[in-house]
């Protein structure tokens, strides 16, 4: 890394943050102009994009794709959900819960903090073992973590609802909270990637051997990113249940894993701008398809798409992006002002990591 890159002047930080922040604000503010159902979709878009940012903090900076991040979203969602459910009702619906869970409930902000805390702790524990792995082994091991999380959440009635859904969660995530949540995640992700820790991890992503050679402790840097990423994911899970109002295990499993991964890949896994663009773009595509299934009038032409086609389209878009534009729509770069292209911004195409 040359010195010029490592000491970005404040102006460039602002430019790089401007894109993600502006996009968030546009989606957040625009939602007030639409019907309730479209508003809900836009708020879901904000929260889902925040999950993608959480995934990006680890996968984008380390170059290791995690298939297990929805585990941390799930833990955050279930922790916030079960602790937000009113205690008297909890005692009758889920009598098997541990006493400290059953007899207490938390306010909105506290429950979000709890999600972030537990997501981060869980990721720290898991990461201690897993961040030694990379490439295929890491992909499969993180997938296994997702399987374990689901299995435990679904069957351990002392900590959660088991196979049932958690009902009666206060729906505090509206326009304001969804927008703020995404902005917070963007801020955390950017602060991390601009920090010495983030820069060291990105160096190890680009060339693991060289990074080790200049004394970077790859394991430690990965673990920091993994725990931070899990914490962001847990936070977004908590925000998510306050949007949904109820949650069951299958809502935080394979489909959400696929959706968030598709968003990150479509936008471009190497940059925060890519994570946000991918999240918003795929969400809007999803909403458009969803509306299209109900019948939609586009420039005077009535289009009715066959039902439940949105997953098919998203999977196709994801596959095509991998084939045609493997670095994603943004090309894996942060947003820049026109005319400020620097040669050093380009990397060689993704190389298999050690």
């Amino acid at each position: 890394m040359d010195r010029r890159r490592s000491r970005l002047e404040p102006g460039r930080h602002l430019v790089r943050l401007a894109g993600p922040v502006a996009l968030t604000l546009v989606v957040g503010l625009a939602s007030s102009a639409f019907s309730d159902s479209v508003q809900l979709q836009l708020h879901t878009a904000l929260v889902t994009t925040a999950m993608v940012v959480g995934l990006y903090v680890f996968s984008g900076n380390s170059g290791i794709v995690s298939f297990g991040h929805i585990s941390f979203v799930g833990v955050g969602a279930f922790a916030a959900g079960i602790m937000s459910m009113p205690a008297p009702q909890k005692a009758t619906v889920f009598p098997e819960l541990f006493g400290f869970i059953r007899d207490h409930d938390l306010g909105n902000v506290t429950s979000l903090a709890l999600g972030a805390l537990l997501g981060g702790l869980f990721a720290l524990v898991v990461g201690t073992a897993l961040v030694r792995l990379s490439g295929l082994a890491a992909g499969i091991a993180t997938f296994a973590v997702l399987g374990i999380t689901r299995n435990v959440l679904r069957n351990w009635a002392s900590v959660g609802p088991g196979a049932k859904a958690i009902p009666s969660i206060p729906q505090t995530t509206g326009r304001t909270q969804a927008t703020i949540a995404l902005l917070v995640c963007i801020g955390v992700a950017y602060a991390y990637q601009a920090s010495p820790w983030g820069r060291r991890l990105r160096a190890s992503r680009d060339d693991a051997a060289a990074a080790r050679g200049i004394g970077i402790g790859v394991y430690k840097e990965r673990l920091i990113a993994f725990a931070l990423s899990g914490s962001v994911a847990g936070f977004t899970g908590a925000v998510y249940v306050h949007l949904l109002g109820s949650v069951s295990v299958d809502q935080v499993y394979l489909e959400l894993t696929f959706l968030t991964l598709a968003m990150l890949v479509v936008g471009g896994i190497d940059s925060l701008w890519g994570a946000v663009v991918g999240g918003v773009f795929v969400s809007l595509l999803n909403s458009l398809l969803f509306e299209g299934e109900k019948g939609l009038s586009i420039v005077g032409i009535d289009v009715t798409l066959p039902a439940s086609s949105s997953n098919i389209v998203i999977a196709l878009v994801m596959g095509i992006v991998i084939l045609v534009r493997p670095r994603g729509l943004t090309g894996g770069r942060e947003l820049r002002l026109p005319g400020t292209r620097r040669q050093s911004a380009r990397r060689a195409p993704v190389t298999p990591e050690g």
Binding site: G147, G319, V350
Partner: protein, 293 residues
């Protein structure tokens, strides 16, 4: 005697998972790709059986075989061949997308409701030897499993294409330098994987007669666990791993009451993680692990 019965059932299930695992292991051996969409081959065959209900059984099986091979070849040609020089992570993400695409299509076409495959249901009948109750299906599973595993071994050892596959699996660059045509080898591997998947499907169909979009995923995830635990590098170790996982799963189901086996999945996934951590060099990190076709 009860335990002998359990053993027999476990061997039968182990043979089925061995077939699926060999398919996954063969693709990994030749291409260094973990194909997360392998289960969707079984799913495609399952829906073919549903759609052809009423035809003669042999025709249905052959139709399913044809559909599965076509899907396997399309997968290779459209999604994986263009990615031959991409990183293993990229191809893993791609096969995840393919898996999701195929399941979404199935969900749309046939809904999430299960559809009956209605194939060879007579195989569920059993005969008894003393206290032992042996299903015809058990015998079919063991025989078909043994024959196919033997046939693949002979193929890999004795035929030109098989030898080329083994050469490509051990060092693709040298194999290419010696004139191995990579596309032939890869297509051959996918055809064999398709045949093995269909065979497993036909043997699963009598005991799990309902096909859903997740039908193949559930089987393939477990087989993949076996492949990782056994060792992906060699088809033989992948097969053994698959057999072990099917066998162990069946034994645990027979021996433990329901309340105690709900965390079985966690134990299996935990095993995967431990193996990946403790024996990574034996599984993924061969010297030339990234050189694929």
């Amino acid at each position: 005697m009860k335990y002998v019965q359990y053993l027999i059932d476990a061997v039968a299930l182990g043979s089925l998972y061995a077939l699926v695992a060999l398919g996954i292991g063969l693709i990994f051996g030749v291409m260094r790709i973990v194909n997360l969409a392998h289960g969707e081959l079984l799913m495609a065959g399952g829906y073919t059986l549903y759609e052809t209900d009423g035809w003669p059984a042999i025709v249905r099986v052959l139709t399913a075989l044809a559909v599965v091979i076509v899907v396997a070849l399309l997968m290779e040609r459209l999604a994986l061949r263009p990615l031959r020089h991409a990183s293993p992570t990229t191809t893993l993400v791609m096969t995840f997308a393919v898996s999701f695409l195929l399941r979404s299509i199935a969900q749309k076409r046939w809904s999430a409701q299960g559809k009956s495959m209605n194939l060879f249901t007579d195989l569920n009948r059993a005969f008894t030897i003393g206290e032992l109750r042996i299903k015809y299906l058990t015998i079919a599973a063991v025989v078909v499993g043994a024959v196919l595993l033997g046939a693949v071994t002979v193929f890999l050892d004795r035929t030109d294409l098989g030898l080329q596959m083994r050469a490509a699996a051990s060092d693709v660059r040298i194999a290419q330098a010696l004139g191995v045509r990579t596309n032939h080898v890869v297509v051959g591997a996918f055809v064999i994987a398709g045949i093995l998947a269909t065979a497993a499907l036909v043997l699963f169909a009598p005991q799990r007669p309902v096909v859903t979009p997740d039908f193949g995923l559930q089987i393939a995830i477990l087989a993949l666990v076996g492949v990782v635990v056994g060792g992906m590098d060699k088809p033989s170790s992948a097969t053994l791993g698959g057999f072990f996982i099917g066998f162990a799963n069946s034994m645990v189901f027979s021996l433990l009451p329901k309340g105690q086996r709900v965390f079985l999945d966690s134990a299996l996934y935990g095993l995967v993680i431990v193996v990946l951590l403790v024996r990574p060099s034996g599984l993924f990190q061969r010297e030339n692990v990234t050189s694929r076709l």
